[in-house]
């Protein structure tokens, strides 16, 4: 993959600002406490949180790339997969079997969605498909809770959540976040390899490039859609496991989709690496802002700051950092 030069410039400027702004704030305001170890703690914490956002954003990217659908249901899929996994586990299935069973369920879901929804709405405008995924969201929210109930369930992976100290005990990094980020990283690498080197991956990229051309060289569009929704289901399951073991498996899990949206627009809807870089920038950016800027204006700015940050990037790159360049013709 070739990275455009201005993207590199933008990233360099961003990195510089991420260090310079907190440092300056620390110098000019007494309310703001700046010390290098603390700065790195916040930055690393933010980067690790960002990886967790990327995990959710990835599901969006996969589906958007292959079928042009902005899948609003990704959050509901995270919830549904986690509920199914924990529900099956509680019914007495060993965890590995429950994971396999959940994967099968997600595959079935992909087949049903393709059969019922996508096939009937083929060639419709983006916004109509978007609305259809909202219908799916409602359905999954109701269906998941009917099957498994609305009570909170625990999912314990046995990862310790105690503070871990690194670099001579100067910098605190949470072990759980570290493990989660590692897992997410492995998933991303596997996905990237899958896209790059397998037959299906090549077909997926072809479809993403041009539906018509892909069809004409004999790539079955329907199968591709099933596969991509199934892969998004798998990503949702991984996100569900990681977020579920952090927050407990409950309805609120569906809300994490909102945290993934700024990541998406920053990185670009169509780019897997974009989702990763976007997640890192958003994660670190919002945490740094909350710690080093927010005290001056009253705090609690994380949410809108993430969107504002993404907006600022869009002003320079309207298609997101790694999105495909928008070419317009009359």
């Amino acid at each position: 993959m070739r990275i455009e030069r201005d993207v590199i410039y933008i990233i360099i400027v961003t990195l510089f600002l991420m260090v310079a702004i907190p440092w300056t704030m620390g110098q000019i305001s007494e309310d703001i406490f700046f010390e290098w170890p603390f700065f790195f703690e916040v930055a690393i914490g933010g980067l690790l949180a960002g990886v967790m956002y990327s995990l959710v954003a990835l599901g969006f990217v996969l589906i958007f790339k292959a079928s042009g659908v902005f899948n609003f249901a990704q959050g509901a899929m995270v919830l549904f997969s986690a509920l199914t996994l924990v529900g099956l586990n509680e019914l007495g299935m060993p965890i590995w079997l429950a994971i396999i069973a959940t994967l099968v369920v997600m595959l079935l879901l992909a087949v049903v969605i393709e059969r019922v929804v996508l096939r009937s709405l083929v060639n419709q405008e983006h916004i109509i498909l978007f609305m259809a995924t909202i219908g799916i969201t409602y359905f999954l929210d109701g269906f998941g809770q009917t099957l498994w109930g609305s009570e909170v369930k625990t999912l314990n992976l046995g990862i310790p959540s105690d503070p871990g100290f690194y670099f001579d005990g100067k910098i605190l990094i949470n072990d759980f976040d570290l493990v989660a980020a590692l897992l997410a990283g492995v998933l991303v690498i596997v996905l990237a390899l899958f896209f790059q080197y397998t037959r299906i991956g090549r077909a997926l990229r072809a479809v993403a490039d041009d539906h018509q051309a892909a069809l004409s060289v004999g790539i079955p569009l329907k199968h591709i859609w099933v596969i991509v929704w199934a892969v998004a289901g798998i990503v949702a399951l991984v996100a569900g496991i990681m977020w579920g073991s952090k927050l407990g498996v409950q309805f609120s899990l569906a809300l994490i989709a909102l945290k993934a949206l700024p990541v998406l627009i920053l990185g670009g809807f169509t780019s897997v690496p974009g989702a990763i870089v976007g997640g890192l920038i958003i994660g670190a950016g919002e945490k740094l802002a909350e710690v080093f800027i927010a005290p001056l204006i009253g705090g609690g700015i994380e949410d809108w700051f993430a969107y504002m940050l993404a907006l600022a990037f869009l002003v320079f790159r309207p298609q997101g950092l790694f999105g495909e360049k928008i070419i317009e013709r009359v």
């Binding site: 019922v116 219908g135 359905f139 809108w304 969107y307």
Partner: protein, 359 residues
Amino acid sequence: MLYREAGEFKSTYQADQAILTIRQDRWFMWAMLAFAFLVIPLISSEYWLGTILLPFLILALAALGLNVLTGYAGQLSLGTGGFMATGAFAAYKLATAFPELHIVVVILLAGLLTAGVGILFGIPSLRIKGFYLAVATLASQFFLIWMFNKFGWFTNYSASGVISAPPMSVFGDAFVTGPYATAEAKYLFTLSLVVLFALMTKNLVRSNIGREWMAVRDMDIAAEIIGIKMLSTKLKAFAYSSFLCGISGALWAFVYTGSVEPLAFDVNRSFQILFMIIIGGLGSIMGAFLGAAFIVLLPIFLSNAPHWIGLNIPVDLISHIEFMVFGVLIIFFLIVEPHGLARLWQLLKEKLRLWPFPY
């Protein structure tokens, strides 16, 4: 047979340019208005007026606003909730700072203030398009709600950051806000405003401004080439849309609930309004109303239905079933008619022209 334009000749430009050119359509519209203004307040219970029709009308107004922006001008926005909140808080500040102002003036001024805020947040639309713009407008949504929550000035330093409407009347004793306002008064007041703004919007989208919006929606580069100014056209759309959303927010806070916290206008509200216009039909006045009816009334109907037919189901199961059926119906209607309920309505009318002897 009953519904046809054959034999109706227009001899003046005025008749030719009427909103409803077919006589039957006019009759139908007058009958609808008479029904809404005269019959409904007589036959409806307080529950229907104050709990179902009132929010339906207010949200339809917001949907109308968003439909101007998204349906006519093609700018996808998820900032509706934020603009509604702006309207609500502006109305509150105006009503408490100048208690002698008439409620209609308060609401209109709140709308104008919101239009200003809308212009501000519309500026990024000059560079950003499509879903990118939708997510970018979320920035305004989150920022505005945060701002109203954070600064005590907006709520006159109330401990919880909640605003509540002072009692205000249209004339004399006809209170439309506060505890002693009757559901009928609230309903009629809101209905009048909504009808007025619907008419205004309908005329606006038929004017040169409306045609500019549609040109920008259909292809902005082409529109620019034929000499439409992108900046002013897009910002006009943002301004007018926010104006309507602001009024709708002010009505929501003052007439419907009476007291609101900023979270009443959170991101879910924005999504709700967007769903309305997609289901109802993008780029259609009728669509805003049909979509609002679908999104507001259907869940209420679904959650009441088991009771009406005498089934005794636990409430949580009702809720879950409501979600599932609602989701399935959304998909069903999209598959039947992807261009929304308004398009279905149009198709119905076309069929009716040939009824009962289609060729």
